[in-house]
Amino acid sequence: MLRRWDDFDDTYALLNSFRRQVDRFVQDFETGVPAHGEGGPRLNLFDAGAALVLTADVPGMGEKDLNIDVTQDVFTLSGERKADAPEGYAPHRRERGRYRFSRSFSLPVRVDLERTTATVKDGVLTVTLPKAAEARPRQIAVRGA
């Protein structure tokens, strides 16, 4: 008969918990950004040629919970993950963060705000920021003499 959640995770509980901590420590050390908490979700930024593409893990958040703001070259992603703890349940373990965040960084090139799009699918935010005309890669034809 189960008494505590600890009984649940018997043999590997300690090992798993230790492994998770080491994993997190290594990840945080590598990236300088904590996985959860105040910092908000982690971001990746790609150069897709004609556009910059930004991705972020935002599990449990929808379009309504996220705000994107671009002023000049500064990109700001803010949002809030609401608590989704069900009513009337006793918690055994809480690892998933509940947080409100705001992250800003400067974009490496000018972008076209009018054509910027953002989608959320399966808990992943993808923002496509088309580069401004002057920042787009351009092929220069070399003419023979």
């Binding site: 959640w5 649940f8 790609f46 918690p91």
Partner: protein, 127 residues
């Protein structure tokens, strides 16, 4: 002899491909009188690829993560990885009625308790 053997294996085309990187998703675990409830963050996992598996008293959740970089990386704070985590379940979980659903990158697994362990009020009859 054994050492040589090991060294040779490096670069051996017959050696198994290195496993993809997997991370343990963060979970919340709740309980009420009827069931246990596990919430796991698995952003980027597609519903038809999530595998929730129950065998020998262990619940295992696995979800591969599809990811193709749209171009060269300018800044990277995380490397997408597959998800893998397993739990030993207490006795008294009705395995046949375990349900899982995936909404917005959050996997919600309900583990109903079997009738035998559910608390029950026993009516006291007067004599």
């Amino acid at each position: 002899m054994a050492d040589t053997n090991l060294e040779r294996r490096e670069g051996d085309p017959r050696a198994p491909a290195p496993r993809r990187r997997a991370v343990a998703p963060a979970v919340d675990v709740f309980e009420n009188k009827d069931e246990y409830l596990i919430l796991a963050d698995v952003p980027g996992a597609a519903r038809d690829r999530v595998n929730v598996h129950f065998e020998h008293g262990r619940l295992t959740l696995e979800a591969p993560r599809e990811f193709t970089a749209p171009g060269p990386v300018l800044a990277s704070e995380y490397a997408p990885a597959d998800y893998h985590r397993s739990f030993a379940l207490p006795q008294g979980v009705d395995a046949a009625r375990i349900e899982a659903e995936l909404v917005a990158g959050v996997l919600r697994i309900r583990l109903p308790k079997s009738d035998a362990v559910r608390p029950r009020r026993i009516a006291i009859k007067g004599g």
